[in-house]
Symmetry: C2
Subunit: 382 residues, 2 copies
Amino acid sequence: DQKPIDLNDPFSKDPFRLPVFRINSKKPFNAEPPIELLTDSYITPNELFYVRNHLPVPEIDPDSHRISVDLGDSSIQLSLEDLKTKFKPVTITTTIQCAGNRRQEMSDFKTKGLSWGPCAIGTARWTGARVRDILLSAGFDPDDKTIKHVHFNGFDDDITNTSYGASIPKQKAMSLDGDVIIAYKMNGVDIPRDHGYPVRAIVPGYVGARNVKWLRQITVGSDESTSHWQMNDYKAFSPSTTFETANYKKAPSIQEMPVISAISVPKPGSIIDPEDGMVEVKGYAWSGGGRDIMRVDVSADGGNTWQEASLTKDDPDADDSAHCWAWTLWTAEVPVAAGKVEIICKAIDSANNCQPEWIGPIWNLRGFLTNAWHRVNVTVEN
Amino acid sequence: DQKPIDLNDPFSKDPFRLPVFRINSKKPFNAEPPIELLTDSYITPNELFYVRNHLPVPEIDPDSHRISVDLGDSSIQLSLEDLKTKFKPVTITTTIQCAGNRRQEMSDFKTKGLSWGPCAIGTARWTGARVRDILLSAGFDPDDKTIKHVHFNGFDDDITNTSYGASIPKQKAMSLDGDVIIAYKMNGVDIPRDHGYPVRAIVPGYVGARNVKWLRQITVGSDESTSHWQMNDYKAFSPSTTFETANYKKAPSIQEMPVISAISVPKPGSIIDPEDGMVEVKGYAWSGGGRDIMRVDVSADGGNTWQEASLTKDDPDADDSAHCWAWTLWTAEVPVAAGKVEIICKAIDSANNCQPEWIGPIWNLRGFLTNAWHRVNVTVEN
Ligand SMILES: [Mo]
Ligand SMILES: [Mo]
């Protein structure tokens, strides 16, 4: 069923995507892979990495593209070749997660946003140049106390010629431990168009929204980015805050992500034939800020008893990361009774933070940061 | 009621303490201040800072005391004067919290440990030399991949001449952002004897137990400290782990601390005369790892509605900290109904981590890391 291309459609030049995606929005394209494929490999294949686009995918000529580093009183222009040759290449393995991952579970309540399942998350090895090195080479003074934020602006435009933009704290961008890079490779190949070709910001441990794609400009400032997505989106509120009382000016931007986990096997609604009364449960766990996963507990009896999962992670020393930015995959053998069974998982990160038991106390009007215990309902055969 | 000093008692040389403390153990001395005094000032007065001693308080002559920095193939000895003059002094404001803070709330279940209330926490400005600078001056190679931990050993001995010891990851000790120091001043004066006179380690954002007092040695190693307190204490387990099944070898050491909060006003059991149906609630909130507090929610109706608290913190730029290591004090005006009322608080940190609703899912046999919502029961008059 091929449709003719509408040349007036700003999305007509969007790239091809695998039909296997669960699509939450076509224009802009927002889609997640099926959960049974998500945890099949530690590194998410580029073709299966969730896509979160705010605007049409821009067409960028890699030869003429320049990244403008604007510091007010000075400015440099970097070609892709400059980025690859003038700075030490570093490779960082990081999980990236959408602020709206698992929002669907808040949908019993009224929320505004794309109805993501638990797969708006993925893990890749990104190669690029440190933002720290780029800013220093442009003459940035890291001790300038008036500068508190580093801004990234994208090449993706809306019809008013407003581009996507975001900012992160200077501390994160300039720290040797922060591992913030401008990436030109995703898992060893050119970054696919949906993921920012030819260059994007990688901000490990922070919300996906700050990992600006199709990067065209880096700036610095005393304040956060004035972009819509920094100021009036990607902020969380108390469960008692309504659309009428939400004060976007006062609310802090979502930056570092909290501990989360999800069950990928078995799928919701499965009918399970247990082996010696046991079922195998698999999933992922992750925390932001470079925190590792210390433990994953799994229960099939409403939390009365918990089984510790076996944790799998790739060697974290295999890349140039200062911290543990990437997820942990896990497997647990859990005793189950026959009948309707709810399987639950919860993770503890290396700062001993835990996940909340249910959605209620973390509910927020935009449905961000859904990190309650993950629950999958199945039927266990006799 | 003065008792004669028993010279055979290893605790006979312990210092004087204010009678206002709530004492959890006399020998070794373990005590916390009353909650109505705890949040009266942002900086905890030295005399009111909770005391957590594992052994008798040693008597140390500051003139002859040496800190031995032992790197295997090289070693240096530092006097107090060396520490003060050979390294750039830095001042770090940090909250320190005992792993067992609020353990009392887990006492409905069987736990092992001192029955701390919510006041085994305090905030001070510590002045000293960076461990990073000390190790580098002793010839430590930060790129030595075989070294993964930095160890601190104390001067406090038990009867077998085993001293208190602990270790932290090299990454934390060597990072410019880690702010790990060997302190010789607490709030501008010599460190009191109960808090480590003349020198102690300060490991901001980590559990109190790693902030080794009466420091006599710094070493490095491929493994963690073999001290009892690193290997067989200060570890957390799943709620389903028993004393019989606990595997101390496999369990990770508690290092970074999770988000916590507590109510200091009103006190449990208070009878409150509300003003226009409102009651003023005060308390503290803190998170480890340099994370700030983003929001504190307070409820007096079982969590149906939440009031956002006003947050107070001292200027975080007033010291040499790279991160937000110190607590947030807060005040909220909460509507209350007449009768028996439970007041609840919960905090969100800058990584969007939250506190668990109740003790059950985080219960662990040692009663560590009690960071559930804090609840205070009061009676509200008509
Ligand atoms: Mo997102
Ligand atoms: Mo402690």
